[in-house]
């Protein structure tokens, strides 16, 4: 479905000294820098997969998305999406893909979303009955039936993002590229978008490539993760294996309402990390011993609350972003 081979994109920019002197100097002489945004990238994505492209800001995720959709042309290497070379911008190819960008809008700002959707109906030559049916179905799933006739500028960010999703999916694309679709949204809106994407994927077997800084998106939607660091592929595998990159231990947190003694015998031999008040402790426990040790602590100390780590992927991401060299060990 999507294959890349040594895909590279370089961007050219220039340095500018600050101030008036720098500005004047800049008119006559510029020092150009060529920087690879994506470098030697190999990837193979099968039909129906949901893949997360993860990485810190500036890692090259959006650049990859733009090369997949044909918006920008690779500097070198090959990319094929459904047998098309995207940058050739074949009309049939453009009918089969969709792009949602959390930070950019494709809707006309000063008119109701429905007007923009009707324009898209013409672009993609969608028969009226089919169009009406899709709008009805998607609007119901996203709970936005009442908002279709409200001016886009009057919608909240979450509501607008739902309209953006509808606008992108109205032509039933085979591949959907979602670039930070939940950015800036509140928790309810995030969850609503996630469940819509999950449902849409289940019903249509669409291939979805998603970038997000919210690990909850990744956890809820993706089985496969591709990590990009400095434009290069750092990891490509399952979510489960990714979570275990730093080891298969589970992190368990115990909370107390009174100060505890960290030197107590029950903490001996455990890698305990206490907070400043000694009222909360994080333990990294081997999966096999999780049940036994947790039971002992619950019995032997006045625990008022405890939980295992909800998003181990978040911790792994944080560690890898701080120290990407771990991946090469």
């Amino acid at each position: 479905m999507i294959t890349t081979n040594s895909l590279t994109k370089n961007f050219k920019s220039y340095k500018k000294e600050p101030g008036l002197r720098g500005s004047i100097k800049n008119i006559f002489k510029r020092e150009y820098i060529t920087k690879p945004a994506v470098e030697g990238f190999d990837l193979n994505i099968k039909k129906g997969e949901i893949v997360a492209l993860l990485g810190p800001n500036g890692a090259g995720k959006t650049t990859l998305m733009k090369m997949f959709t044909g918006i920008i042309v690779p500097s070198s290497g090959q990319v094929q999406v459904m047998g098309h070379e995207p940058y050739k911008r074949n009309k049939e190819f453009r009918k089969k893909i969709a792009l949602v960008m959390g930070q950019k809008s494709q809707l006309w700002w000063d008119i109701p979303a429905m007007d923009s959707l009707l324009l898209l109906q013409k672009y993609y030559e969608i028969p009226k009955d089919d169009f009406d049916q899709k709008i009805k179905k998607m609007a119901a799933l996203l709970n936005v039936e009442e908002l279709l006739h409200i001016h886009v500028r009057k919608l909240s960010l979450g509501e607008r993002m739902k309209m953006e999703l509808m606008a992108s999916l109205i032509h039933s694309p085979d591949v959907i590229f979602l670039d930070e679709p939940t950015i800036g949204l509140d928790l309810i809106a995030q969850e609503s978008i996630r469940s819509f994407i999950r449902e849409y994927h289940k019903n249509n077997d669409t291939t979805i490539i998603i970038t997000s800084h919210y690990m909850a998106d990744v956890q809820a939607l993706c089985e496969r993760i591709v990590l990009i660091i400095d434009g290069k592929k750092g990891y490509d595998g399952t979510l489960k294996s990714f979570e275990n990159i730093l080891g298969s231990e589970k992190v368990v947190t115990f909370v107390y309402d009174t100060k505890q003694d960290p030197t107590d015998a029950i903490w001996q031999g455990l890698d305990a990390k206490w907070d400043n008040n000694h009222q909360q402790v994080d333990l990294r426990l081997p999966e096999k011993k999780l049940r036994e040790i947790t039971s002992q602590i619950l019995i032997q100390s006045p625990v008022i609350d405890f939980h295992t780590e909800k998003l181990p992927i978040e911790r792994v991401m944080k560690v890898l972003m701080e120290n990407p060299k771990i991946l090469h060990k």
Binding site: F11, T62, K66, T69, G70, I71, I72, V73, Y87, R89, K91, E92, R94, K95, I97, A98, L99, M101, G102, Q103, K104, S105, Q106, W108, D110, I111, P112, D115, S116, L118, L119, Q121, K122, Y123, Y124, E125, H151, D179, E180
Partner: protein, 260 residues
Amino acid sequence: MKHYWEIYKKFVSTSISEATSFRLSFFLVAIMDIIFYLTTLFSVNFIFDHVQNIGPWDKNQLLFFISFMLAIDHLHMTTISESFWRFSDHIRTGSLDFLLLRPVHAIFSVFFSRFRAATVFNGIVAWGFLIYYGNQVNLPFLSWLLLPFMVLIGMNLLLVIEIILSTAMFWIVEGAGINFLRMQIQQLSRWPDFIFSKYTRRVLTLVIPISLVGTAPVQFLLDFKNYQYLLFLILFSFILWAFLLIWWNYAIQKYESASS
């Protein structure tokens, strides 16, 4: 072609929907445009209070020309001018990305998507004066039939020259310079070619054929013997469209989008 026409109709209705969202601004723009057209005509009229002829043309002939250019300008303002101003924003903000994804030629999505509804009323002024001065110069019957077509082919040449210039925004990014250059080029087209010196006229006919936009069709409409410039105009239109398609495809390969 039907696909494009269906989309264009939707561009028009969507633009009208957008323009009428701001009712006061909509009527203000409409009134301002009408005032602009009337002042253009009255200032030329004023000149003829002091002279009998400008070049080989008398007052009616020149005002027929000015009205013809206003009809082109009206079509230009209504169908395309707003898109030129938005183009550099599309490049700077990266909103061009979505236009490039649409399954139609990008030139169409970029330059024809904004219809300026408030300018429609201006058509009454431009075409009213064009018909009036057409009568004053005793336009032959065939010229009346050809008149709308001549407006279209004149506008077509102006359009292709402007899109060629605007395509340079893929490199320049900031649009002010190109847009002001475009406006100066429009200004040059608004006067008959005989007001320019011999060499300037040659440049504006054969190098940047902007003076053909109005001069060629009007000279032909006034006297069918003056068909040479019209042939030039048609020839240049074909050459420039062919060049534009190559130039645009090259430029679009250089588009880097904006970071998100």
